[in-house]
């Protein structure tokens, strides 16, 4: 059973948060809006209406391609993908077929490289709402720009998939091109899963799992699928080529529709949109807008600022948090402040995103101020502590240096933190020595 290797490829759809839709001037922000209030002849696919591409959406899709180390195509075009579904008002989706905006990229995760097959731009469909026995259509989402990222089937481990998706999610947010909110459906994940006895050989079937709205669920869905498929193969049954859904309560997948017959989308170049030509300078201009990406930031934090890798990772996950960290770093709050001090202030806060630069600054300053210690009270507390912890004192005397730190902790707690730690250690040690001399 363990001889089987999972072979997993990913299709990820990301809705861009441009102001207007992909091919018309309707607002692209459709979430929780009254149905069919953000529509026009174009996104309703009315007779005679024509698409005019959104330049910003094209630029952003290229930007994402660059962030994923893709080659940007100098010539690209839109194509029609013809199929019938009630949420698709034109009878075709404007997508990209054989000349996507960018191809052949990769993302490195923990030393492993996962290849990106292509990044292309298309339009979202409307939404079907099932109410009782009726099905209603809301076209507010129709025509919202959608980037599709397709990976190579390079994944063999569900944990790698999860890490990859987390990284991709962070990158998309870094670029500021999408909220990538899975609850709202602005980032959609579709793993294609199969298992094989030979890692270098693609099996002649694959199972696509849809409707997954968290990275953890992707991992669970893959684990479930891999097990299910291996069980079938062990019984000499070939898993069906199909689309399955994910049931997050039962943590299982279920069959949605069979894909035994490949659907023929009759792709052909969209005659309503002239082909796009991108000159090198144009691509370079977009490239110059590329921010430092999370992995580069993480490495810099570790190498330049000596942060712990875990801390650097946490800080670099959210670009707003990272930006605040770097802003405070530049301010030079006071002397002797290490990057780690600023990092700690941020990391200690639960709600990092609402933390302001000013708050971080103040907190760092406060922590760095020499603490005035009330030595009279300290002496009393030390005596009390030593008295009530004779065993620990004995341990220390026997040479267990760590024991002193336990005592420091108690004293500091009693002093409510209003004592200089170094002073507390010194005083503790000298007091024990004094008592020792007496006895």
């Amino acid at each position: 059973m363990s001889d089987y290797t999972p072979i997993i490829g990913l299709e990820i759809h990301v809705e861009l948060k441009t102001r207007s839709k992909m091919f018309c001037q309707c607002p692209a922000d459709h979430f929780a809006k009254k149905p069919n209030t953000q529509t026009c002849p174009v996104c309703l696919g009315l007779p005679g209406a024509l698409p005019v591409p959104n330049k910003k959406a094209v630029d952003w899709a290229i930007l994402l391609g660059l962030a994923l180390n893709c080659k940007v195509s100098h010539e690209s075009k839109f194509d029609r993908k013809n199929y019938f579904y009630p949420d698709l008002p034109k009878g075709y989706q404007i997508s990209q077929y054989d000349q996507p905006l960018s191809t052949d990229g990769y993302l490195n995760i923990d030393g492993k490289r996962f290849k990106i097959h292509r990044v292309h731009l298309e339009e979202d469909t409307g939404k079907l709402l099932h109410v009782g026995t009726d099905t209603l259509i809301d076209f507010n989402r129709s025509g919202v720009p959608l980037v599709e990222i397709v990976t190579e089937p390079d994944f063999h481990d569900s944990e790698d998939v999860k890490r990859f998706l987390e990284e991709l999610h962070t990158i998309v947010r870094y670029l500021g091109i999408s909220d990538a909110d899975m609850e709202k459906g602005s980032m959609r994940l579709e793993p294609n899963i199969s298992v094989s006895l030979n890692i270098n050989e693609l099996p002649n079937y694959k199972v696509e799992v849809k409707n997954i709205n968290s990275f953890r669920y992707v991992r669970n869905a893959i684990d479930f699928e891999v097990k299910r498929q291996i069980e079938l193969l062990e019984k000499s049954e070939k898993p069906k080529q199909e689309t399955r859904g994910y049931d997050e309560k039962k943590q299982t997948t279920y069959s949605q529709r069979s894909k035994e017959e490949a659907q023929d989308y009759r792709y052909f170049p969209e005659p309503d949109i002239p082909p796009m030509v991108f000159k090198e300078e144009y691509i370079n201009k977009i490239k110059s807008n590329l921010p430092e990406l999370p992995s580069a930031k993480l490495n810099r934090y570790v190498e330049k600022f000596n942060l712990k890798k875990q801390d650097a990772y946490t800080l670099s996950r959210d670009i707003n948090v990272a930006n605040k960290f770097e802003t405070v770093l530049k301010i030079q709050v006071s002397d002797n402040i290490k990057p780690a001090d600023i990092a700690n202030v941020i990391l200690n806060k639960k709600d990092r995103s609402s933390l302001t630069v000013e708050e971080i600054k103040e907190e760092v300053k406060k922590r760095k101020q020499p603490i005035h210690t009330d030595e009279k009270i300290l002496a009393l507390i030390i005596d009390q502590t030593l008295k009530s912890n004779p065993k620990v004192v004995e341990d220390y005397k026997k040479g267990r240096e760590n024991a002193i730190m336990f005592l420091v902790g108690i004293v500091m707690r009693e002093m409510k933190g209003r004592a200089d730690a170094k002073l507390v250690i010194d005083k503790l040690k000298s007091r024990i020595e004094k008592l020792n001399a007496k006895s």
Partner: protein
Amino acid sequence: MKLLGKSLLELKKLLEDKEISNKELRDYFLKRVRKYNPALNSLITVSSEKAHPTGVPLAIKDNFCTKGIRTTASSKVLDNFIPPYESTVTQRLLNHGLSILGKTNLDAWAHGSSTETSDYGPTKNPWDLSRVPGGSSGGSAAAVSAYISPAAIGSETAGSIRGPAAWCGVVGLKPTYSRVSRYGVIAMGSSLDCPGPLTQNIEDAAYLLGIIAGKDLYDATTSSLPAQNYLKELNLKNKLTIGVTDEYFEGVDAETKRMVDKSIAIFKKNGHKIKKIKLLSPQYAISVYTIIQRAEVSSNLGRYDGIRYGNARNYFADEAKRRVMLGTYTLSYGYYDAYYKKAQKVRTLIIEDFKNVFKDVDVIVAPTMPTSAFRLGEFEKYPFFGELMDVLAEPGAVSGIPAISIPIGLDAKNLPVGLQIMGNYFNEQTILSLAYQFEKETNYFGVIKKGFANYKD
């Protein structure tokens, strides 16, 4: 006042000078609609006076979306469709103070060359009611020919303006592809569709083109080259080199040929140089056109899935079904390269062919149609008969160059014959100006006037 035969620009002036009122003018044409439309079936919808009370009324082909006015593309699938928006072409006409008299009949979805495939019945040729007007803009051509409307707007995919203009004895201009916005025109062959005017003279055609041409933010394929004041520059300043090619006379009826030759002699007399040229046989354009247009049709008609617009898919008539099936086949997996892709390659060759020829000549003249108008029912007997009739228009359509058809007389059957002048890309001015000079010289041998005389007030 006697209005019969007044041109669009003349009527406009009468309105501006308050010689007639908007109501008088509209009532005049409504009266003619009532009198002659039942026999001709040129208009299939008359717009309400409330919607368009002022301006010279025009007849608009029923594949242009007109806000608040039923738009069917002559298909019962759209029997109840009232567009909530205005096409760019009609919007620009309205912006210029013109109005919409009504919507004209066409072959359903503009699929055809005779206007017989309309779900609202065929339009009759005003010169002979037993004959077809040509198509697909047959309703528009007949409306102008019988003076039901002073001018009309049509659309051409391959011959749909020029063909009916020739057979009804009026002027029909197909501009360069991308010169005029397609926004709001019910799509047929998206890479070919081209709106244009049908008129009784060149001035009206130049005037209308000046209004409807130019960049449109709602159509990404429109050219950003600015439109010209075509009307102002109608007088030809220099002598032209006119190309004539044998390929465009093959299979052309002898009488038509003779009449075209006579017209060429007039161009020569006016000092233009006639030059023999060689072009690819128009036969190639038929194949290219058939594949590309069917493919685009199969995709464009997908939206009429029965969920919206009232009527279900079984309302599609045979011609649309045939085209959808052929187009679906050629786009299918495994066939795409053999058909669609190959057709696009040949299309590029046809474009190159024209570009080369236009290095040597300013315009090309040829017959518009191989014969004069056919009798009703004749098209139905032969599949692709329409394509064969449009053979002389298809190279121009496939390549996207501008062309104009003008009347050059009546044949022995007392039916109009047309000559077409094809020009280089975006050079509508030259073909209009040459046609204008011809009009001044010949007055189209009285064809237009004779046409009106058959339809007295």
